[in-house]
């Protein structure tokens, strides 16, 4: 465990807290509890791996953490703000300013250059062209793709596409980076590269990372592993590197 995390544990307020969060889908007999009451506290600077079989509620939990979805009941505090009380647009603004997303399927805009993809969140932040270019180039440089700025996703390998996606997620310097099976579509060599990249982002930029994964090798990079089962947290343990 890094000294930063220790400090964070003791001094800084938590980044986010979940109190008795549930999520139900459907009505009547078809009613399904995706989350049956989750309590969770995340501190700034943590690198969390979320594991569990499909249907265990981890994706629903990620959607709520990512402010893409609101809990059915319970409380989600992000930096002390109750997300449940926010409107759709307020949640969008929260994502814009504090969150970064990395997806299993990369989710880059087709026929759009790497640089333009990375610029996208900055456009929504209203930055001028010069600053956008400067920050997007820096982010591509940070993921080791400075020579691929003008390439479109179709011209990049899977590993490279995921790096562009990571550059897009970190270009706004978010407080929390949510990665949903970031290595799910990659071979083991590329997966290791991506994990090392995420680790360095977590370590060097102090960005909190929450990552869903099915592979224990990938989870080993994290310093905390949370396992979901049947809509509940089955285990939550610190993990030494």
């Amino acid at each position: 465990m890094t000294s930063k995390s220790v400090m964070a544990d003791n001094v800084l307020p938590p980044l986010l807290e979940l109190h008795g969060v549930t999520k139900t889908y459907g009505m009547g007999d078809a009613r399904m509890h995706a989350l049956a009451g989750i309590n969770l506290k995340l501190n700034p600077g943590e690198f969390v791996a979320v594991m569990g079989p499909s249907g265990s509620g981890k994706s629903t939990c990620m959607n709520i953490l990512g402010c893409l979805d609101a809990p059915s009941s319970g409380e989600y505090l992000f930096q002390g703000v109750n997300v449940g009380g926010l409107t759709r647009n307020q949640r969008a603004l929260l994502r814009r300013h504090y969150l970064g997303f990395v997806f299993q399927g990369f989710n880059l805009l087709n026929r759009t250059t790497a640089l333009e993809n990375v610029e996208l969140p900055l456009i929504y932040r209203g930055l001028d062209t010069a600053s956008r270019h400067r920050l997007a180039k820096a982010a591509l440089d940070a993921v080791g793709l400075s020579s691929r700025e003008t390439h479109t996703p179709g011209e990049l390998s899977g590993g490279q596409q995921q790096r562009v996606a990571i550059a897009r997620a970190i270009v706004t310097e978010p407080s929390l980076l949510l990665a949903d099976e970031p290595t799910g579509n990659l071979d083991s060599k590329r997966s290791i590269e991506i994990m090392e990249l995420l680790t360095s982002i977590n370590r060097d930029q102090g960005i909190t990372v929450v990552m869903v994964t099915h592979e224990t090798e990938m989870a080993d990079y994290a310093n905390r592993i949370i396992t979901f089962k049947d809509g509940l947290i089955e285990s939550d343990q610190k993990h030494g590197n």
């Binding site: 959607n63 893409l68 647009n89 989710n107």
Partner: protein, 401 residues
């Protein structure tokens, strides 16, 4: 925020050049159709006006027979020269009056012959018809009175019979009449009805009656009024006198017809305006169809781009920003299509006006209206798909394949 939306919209359209062009096609055709029709229509209206003005707008035509409907008359007794003389004497405000008897006859010179219209009239004919003599002279009062064998020919007849020769002082034959060409009419071109106004021979009325028709009939009396006289009053006066002279009882309808050129002009221009209106409506319908085409493509595009919209929403795009982006895309498409349509229409109208021999009348109003209409088509038909995009659930959208 609008600047961002423009930037994002342009990036998106540039990525799909082919789709963008195809989407614009409907608008291009609609705008072009409306502008071409209106431009050519107003050219035609102006042409009709010019032609009627060249006939003389203060002209009255008194013809034999009752008007049964457009172009139809019932038979009745012909006029006599005395009718024209009575009108000249008793009606105030007339500038000139020309009784006309005419018929179709073959004109012969040497071994050339040409079937043409021969009109017997007085020297006032040239004034009233607004068709002066260009070369030579018109017949004198004396020649008219004694029924001299002289004629004034139109340029078409001159060309057909004489080719490049000078027709003056040569003699042509009209049936049994041999007459000397003393004058050549000024070229006037086609009339509004499409007849050649230069294809005629004018001879003194008495010559026509004695030597060609063999009777004393006058088919038509052409009257030109002085300026600043009331057309309706003159028409009423003429009708009154003619009814008396033709012994019509109060209960009988006129068996002659007094037509005024302004009426004809109004009738003709209202016809062209109706045509223009109808064709513009067709153009407007195609504009509407173009708008629906845009809506269609935008809806497909929203479905096709669901995942992209999900990405935008996930990284923090507001509902309004997505809405605005799609709306701006639609408006850019439609107004750019409108712009291309305008350029295309003006080129086409210019080319067609040459082919159809209609003056090119630039109608700034319709160009502006068509452009604004095409832009608003974008707003109206782009709004529904844009709203659909903006209201997508980011989670669902991201999961979309």
């Amino acid at each position: 925020m609008l600047g961002n939306a423009l930037l994002l919209a342009f990036r998106e359209l540039r990525r799909n050049v082919m789709r963008s062009l195809l989407t614009m096609l409907g608008i291009i055709i609609g705008v072009a159709a409306v502008i071409v029709v209106v431009t050519l229509g107003s050219g035609a209206t102006r042409q009709v006006g010019q032609q009627v003005a060249s006939l003389g707008s203060n002209l009255l035509m008194i013809s034999v027979g009752k008007r049964m409907g457009p172009g139809q008359t019932s038979g009745a007794e012909a006029f006599k020269i005395a009718d024209a003389e009575a009108l000249a004497r008793d009606v105030d405000g007339l500038a000139a009056i020309a009784p006309v008897a005419s018929g179709s006859t073959t004109a012969i010179y040497a071994n050339e012959n040409w079937s043409t219209n021969v009109s017997g009239s007085t020297e006032d004919f040239f004034t009233v018809s607004n068709q002066p003599v260009a070369e030579g002279r018109m017949f004198t009062t004396n020649e008219a009175r004694r029924g001299a064998s002289v004629c004034v020919i139109g340029p078409t007849v001159a060309t057909k019979l004489f080719g490049l020769q000078n027709p003056l002082n040569k003699r042509i034959r009209l049936q049994k009449l041999s007459c000397e060409v003393i004058g050549l009419l000024k070229a006037k071109g086609q009339s509004t009805m499409g007849t050649d106004q230069d294809d005629l021979v004018v001879i003194p009325l008495r010559t026509y009656q004695r030597r060609i028709a063999g009777n004393q009939d006058v088919n038509l009396i052409k009257v030109s009024m002085q300026d600043n006289v009331n057309t309706d009053q003159v028409k009423q006066a003429i009708e009154g006198i003619m009814r008396t002279r033709r012994h019509l009882a109060n209960t009988e309808e006129n068996n002659f017809n007094v037509m005024d050129m302004k009426e004809i002009a109004a009738m003709l221009s209202s016809t062209t305006q109706t045509m223009t209106g109808m064709l513009s409506a067709v153009g407007a319908v195609s504009l509407l169809v173009g708008g629906i085409g845009i809506m269609n493509i935008m809806l497909v595009s929203v479905t096709e781009r669901t995942r992209e919209i999900g990405i935008r929403l996930a990284i923090g795009a507001l509902e309004n920003e997505v809405l605005l982006q799609f709306l701006v895309e639609a408006v850019v498409l439609s107004s750019f299509g409108g712009f291309i349509g305008i350029v295309l229409a003006l080129g086409t109208a210019l080319a067609l006006s040459g082919v159809l021999q209609v003056p090119f009348v630039f109608q700034g109003g319709i160009v502006i209206i068509a452009f604004l209409f095409s832009a608003s088509v974008g707003v109206i038909f782009g709004y529904f798909p844009a709203r659909k995009a903006a209201r997508l659930d980011p989670i669902e959208a991201l999961r979309h394949e």
